[in-house]
């Protein structure tokens, strides 16, 4: 394999503690190295910024609802297409790009690892087919557990070993990465057109509450010692006043210690917190509670969050929170797709136009940024747009610009139609914090990698780590105009994925050698769970048990993380 040396760049790397010093980065055999031979190809990065490839902890990029989103929104593709290139497939779509575009655009922005945020187990094979067709980036997928009948029944009977055995079995069967929880209990209630909007709303017919589901799965996660913590989208998303539900959910994890051998310190990751930090009791007095929520996170160091920043675009919302999407379509009357999945989950899709001229949208925009600015620990606060829910991932550079530049935020605030009302309902106008380049690197590289239990593999530049390296044409000390930040982060000068140059001069030059990450947790043999699974498939599933497993050839280049929970 080729060797490279990236010379004289300003290097940012929380892993090794380099904060913008001029240094060289060496790549050899796909890994970061101490040194390289004289044959190494030299990349001159003088005056430029060098950092590890970014890790996206939460995006909806592959699977049934993403694809339904593509197929039912031809208008999302209009005039967006980039033709077939020398080494690239044609690629198009704005809020829900094709798999090729997904891989290429992430790579161009310097992202090299992405977690698909919600995999319905029954559709796992579909998720992996798409992942296989997404070039360059390494990907894993989080199966949803928060509305699963097996989980409900074991938890209700307090059978923790059985929960663990079932989780291990499902991760292996679906080639999944960790435990995702979406609207615990509420998505099952949606099977009857109902919902659970607080952590104590009982799930119809299952005699269990969201709080019990979260607590149980959290305990199981630590008992198994999985690389990632539970990854939760709590109840009551998107509703005024929901920050109380959010805090009630977070409380469940208070004081619990992480148990694993991957260097992970948190026991709960709360995703797209922007959607969960709302005050008021109607859209009229709707307001930001970002401060309250962020302060809670600041105090509780065993939790992480991602922002879910609204980017003020026309986009497509999609979530395993079925009742939420139904609620949304009744507000905006746009086309609604829904899929309830037997014994496992629900899901829905609705296009949404975040119009800066609408007060609520502008407040949502402010809340996402406030969370990023109030958070004291960038290693526990990650930048996302909950792609494509609050905006497409291709807007990350814009979000980074807003977080790094008070000027750019103030200009936005001033430009809104309901500027005064927005300023009154939020705290953003008074927040003049500007995140540093190092903090951005913590939020997009080291932090998410650590939360996923991958801190020794991705998100850093220590020798022996995967050689995912990015060079941006930007110098933190010489930024005159905030637009330079967005431009630089939109397309890197060059990007290496596992030591292969995949982007050169802002363009994709190679389809890389993507891998699929999944977690193989070993648990003691459990006959009861085996029997229960057999029985439920016979009686309630529409597929036979022997056709459920995702066979290995759907994961042609796997990166398996083994966990011994025996």
């Amino acid at each position: 394999m080729s060797e490279y040396i990236i010379k004289n760049g300003k290097v940012y790397d929380p892993k090794t503690g380099i904060k913008g010093d001029v240094a060289d980065v060496c790549i050899k055999d796909g890994k970061i190295a101490d040194k390289v031979s004289s044959k190494a190809k030299v990349i001159d990065a003088k005056g430029k910024t060098v950092m590890a490839g970014a890790v996206d902890i939460h995006a909806h990029v592959a699977g049934p609802k993403v694809n339904e989103g593509r197929n039912y929104r031809p208008e999302d593709k209009l005039f967006t297409y980039k033709p077939t290139g020398k080494n690239t497939r044609m690629s198009g779509g704005f809020s829900i790009p094709t798999t090729f575009k997904t891989g290429y655009e992430y790579a161009r922005m310097g992202y090299t690892t992405v977690m698909e945020a919600a995999m319905p187990p029954l559709y796992a094979r579909h998720v992996h087919e798409e992942i296989k067709d997404t070039p360059i980036i390494d990907e894993g997928a989080l199966p949803v557990f928060g509305n699963n009948w097996f989980v409900f029944e074991y938890l209700k009977n307090n059978e923790m070993d059985n929960v663990c055995a079932y989780i291990a079995w499902l991760l292996k069967t679906t080639k999944g990465y960790g435990i995702k929880i979406v609207n615990p209990g509420g998505s099952e209630a949606w099977g009857w057109g109902e919902n659970c909007t607080t952590v104590d709303d009982p799930v119809p017919y299952f005699d269990i509450t969201p709080a019990e589901i979260v607590k149980g799965l959290l305990t199981a996660n630590e008992q198994l010692g999985l690389p990632h913590s539970i990854h939760i989208h709590s109840n009551n998303l998107g509703n005024p006043g929901n920050y109380e539900t959010t805090l009630a959910t977070l409380k469940i994890a208070e004081g619990v210690k992480a148990k694993n051998k991957f260097g992970r310190e948190q026991v709960l990751h709360h995703t797209h917190v922007q959607f969960h930090s709302y005050g008021g009791d109607s859209w009229v007095n709707f307001e930001s509670k970002a401060k309250e929520v962020a302060e809670y996170f600041n105090k509780n160091k065993n939790m992480t969050m991602d922002l879910g920043c609204v980017t003020l675009d026309e986009t497509t919302t999609m979530t395993a929170d079925g009742p939420f999407e139904h609620h949304l379509t009744s507000l905006n009357h746009l086309k609604w797709a829904n899929v309830d999945v037997e014994l496992e989950t629900s899901s829905g899709i609705v296009p949404y136009v975040y119009d800066p001229n609408i007060k609520v949208c502008a407040i949502q925009w402010a809340i996402g940024l406030e969370l990023g600015l109030y958070a004291k620990d960038p290693l526990r606060t990650f930048i996302t747009t909950d792609h494509p829910n609050a905006g497409p991932f291709t807007r990350y550079p814009r979000v980074i610009k807003w977080l790094m530049s008070d000027k750019s935020r103030q200009e936005m605030l001033k430009g809104f139609k309901h500027s005064e009302k927005v300023i009154a309902a939020t705290n953003l106008a008074s927040l003049d914090r500007e995140l540093s380049m190092f903090e951005i690197v913590q939020m997009t590289r080291a932090g998410p990698a650590k939360a996923l239990g991958l801190e020794n593999v991705f998100g850093g530049l220590a020798p022996g780590m995967d050689a995912d390296v990015v060079v941006y044409n930007l110098n933190e000390d010489k930024i005159k105009n905030p637009e330079e930040i967005e431009t630089a982060f939109s397309a890197a000068d060059c990007v290496f994925k596992s030591g292969t140059m995949v982007v050169e001069n802002r363009e994709v030059i190679s389809n890389g050698n993507k891998r699929t990450l999944w977690v193989d947790a070993k648990v003691p043999e459990n006959k009861q769970v085996e029997r229960d699974v057999q029985m439920k498939f016979l009686k309630f599933y529409s597929m036979t048990i022997n056709n459920y497993e995702v066979s290995n050839h759907y994961v042609p280049n796997p990166y398996v993380i083994e966990v011994d929970s025996n």
């Binding site: 592959a62 993403v66 694809n67 339904e68 593509r70 197929n71 039912y72 929104r73 031809p74 593709k77 297409y81 980039k82 033709p83 077939t84 497939r89 044609m90 198009g92 779509g93 829900i96 790009p97 094709t98 798999t99 090729f100 029954l122 559709y123 094979r125 579909h126 087919e129 798409e130 067709d133 009948w149 949606w190 099977g191 009857w192 057109g193 139904h326 379509t329 009744s330 746009l334 086309k335 609604w336 797709a337 829904n338 899929v339 309830d340 999945v341 037997e342 014994l343 899709i349 609705v350 009686k539 309630f540 599933y541 529409s542 597929m543 036979t544 022997n546 056709n547 066979s551 759907y554």
Partner: protein
């Protein structure tokens, strides 16, 4: 001695039953019996296993109308040359093959600037258009089995087209919340004619042929408690419309299954649009879903693969190096009628049997290749016929059920000696196209 393969997937209809048991001879060459399948499904397995009627090598149409055997290499060469030299080739079919083959086909189409279209063009394409207009609240078939107490078959006769649908998912099964099976369910059939399915119905609305749209909109108004104009609505007495609306609202979980009776009758996508909106409206009162009764076993898969690769579910035009979509323009029937294409490649479908004659004649005038295990009306008008192994019988691969659930089909017997699979043939063509394009 014999061998038994369990959990076999039936590669026939969109029901995609996955519980078949196939017994083969010891060498895995001949199928001796098929259990659990309906008559149509079993026939598909047994028929394929009878090699006497099969062509096992490619054939080329001669001047005199006869076919002459050629090698697979020659067939690959002809296909690649045809596609590379065309200004706007069409690659149609893709519904009776696996997703792996579809994917290779798409790459060829991308390189050659072709149109890619599947059989939705003649069945549920209108459904896809409706979904693009108004979305689709839906669920998996297991949800229906476990929860549904209101089942509507609209313009669909599963007893005929999807024989095991009623027993596996919709009318008879006992699920988690439906322990009493059929007794717990009310069945409504909407069909101008009396069918095997309507004889099982609690209510049969005999809609006037071609007026489904009016009836659906009237039902929607009735659900909202609005007045209706006229005493007979689209062939159905007004009171019956209100009664039906009440029956739908009073259930706890309802499902509408619809078929070609509405997707291809007057109004087409508008009928489905209104049916979807009725479903959506009903979610304000109870829980309701709607599912298309897709025909070919993997037409759904074709839409999925096209979706993630190009963003559109059928009728995709790649001719300009980027993907465009607009049924009415880019659909295969339209481009044949309007003479917009100059070469035709068919795989996994039989347009010769299902397209209007005007299109069939146009195909017979064009350079053309048909890939199909059988001899069909299409293979007999194409210049080259390439026989291949049966997907789901002689080779596995991924397929998508009518509710978009992916199921990997299984290989149960060997194909006749020396025969290629769809995927192998396409990979040969892709390789050759790349070579030709490089020059």
């Amino acid at each position: 001695m014999s061998k038994t393969v369990t959990d076999v997937i039936c590669p026939f209809c969109g029901t995609l039953c996955d519980d078949l048991v196939v017994v083969t001879d010891d060498e895995g060459k001949k199928i001796l019996s098929v259990e659990n399948a309906c008559a149509i499904g079993a026939e598909k397995f047994l028929h394929s296993s009878d090699h006497s009627h099969r062509v096992t090598r490619p054939r080329k149409l001669q001047e005199d109308g006869s076919f002459k055997e050629i090698t697979y290499e020659e067939a690959i060469e002809y296909t690649a040359q045809m596609l590379v030299n065309a200004k706007k080739p069409s690659m149609y079919g893709w519904s009776s093959t696996n997703c792996e083959s579809q994917s290779v086909g798409h790459e060829i189409a991308e390189l050659c600037g072709a149109l890619v279209d599947n059989t939705a063009a003649v069945c549920h394409g209108t459904t896809l258009v409706a979904v693009q207009n108004v979305g689709i609240p839906s669920c998996t078939l297991g949800e229906v089995k476990n929860r549904a107490d209101r089942i509507i078959f609209w313009g669909s006769n599963p007893a005929h087209g999807h024989p095991r649908h009623m027993s596996r998912y919709s009318i008879f099964p006992r699920g988690y919340f439906t322990g009493k099976g059929q007794k717990q369910r009310k069945i409504i059939v909407v069909d101008p004619r009396c069918t095997d399915t309507s004889s099982l119905a609690d209510v049969h609305l005999q809609v006037e042929q071609g007026y489904d749209y009016e009836l659906l909109q009237a039902l929607r108004a009735a659900v909202r408690g609005q007045e209706l104009t006229g005493d007979i609505i689209a062939g159905v007495p007004k009171e019956k419309v209100y009664e039906a609306a009440e029956m739908l609202k009073s259930g706890r979980f309802g499902v509408i299954f619809f078929g070609m009776g509405v997707t291809q009758s007057l109004g087409k996508d508008h009928n489905i649009d209104a049916a979807i909106m009725l479903t959506k409206d009903l979610n304000d009162y109870t829980k309701f879903s709607i599912i298309a009764m897709r025909g070919h076993y993997n037409v759904t898969g074709s839409g999925q693969v096209l979706g993630w690769q190009f963003g559109f579910p059928y009728s995709v035009d790649l001719s300009r190096g980027f993907a465009r979509y607009n049924p009415g323009e880019t659909g295969t029937i339209e481009v044949l009628k309007r003479k917009e294409i100059d070469a035709m490649f068919v795989l996994g479908s039989d347009p010769g049997a299902h397209f209007p004659m005007q299109c069939v004649k146009e195909i017979s005038k064009l350079p053309s290749v048909a890939i199909d295990p059988h001899i069909t009306p299409t293979t007999s008008i194409c210049k080259v016929h390439v026989p291949v192994a049966f997907v789901g019988v002689e080779v596995g691969g991924n397929c998508y059920r009518m509710d978009n659930v992916p199921i990997e089909s299984r290989k149960v017997v060997e194909p006749p000696e020396g025969m290629l699979t769809d995927q192998q043939f396409l990979e040969g063509v892709l390789k050759r196209v790349r070579e030709l394009k490089a020059n």
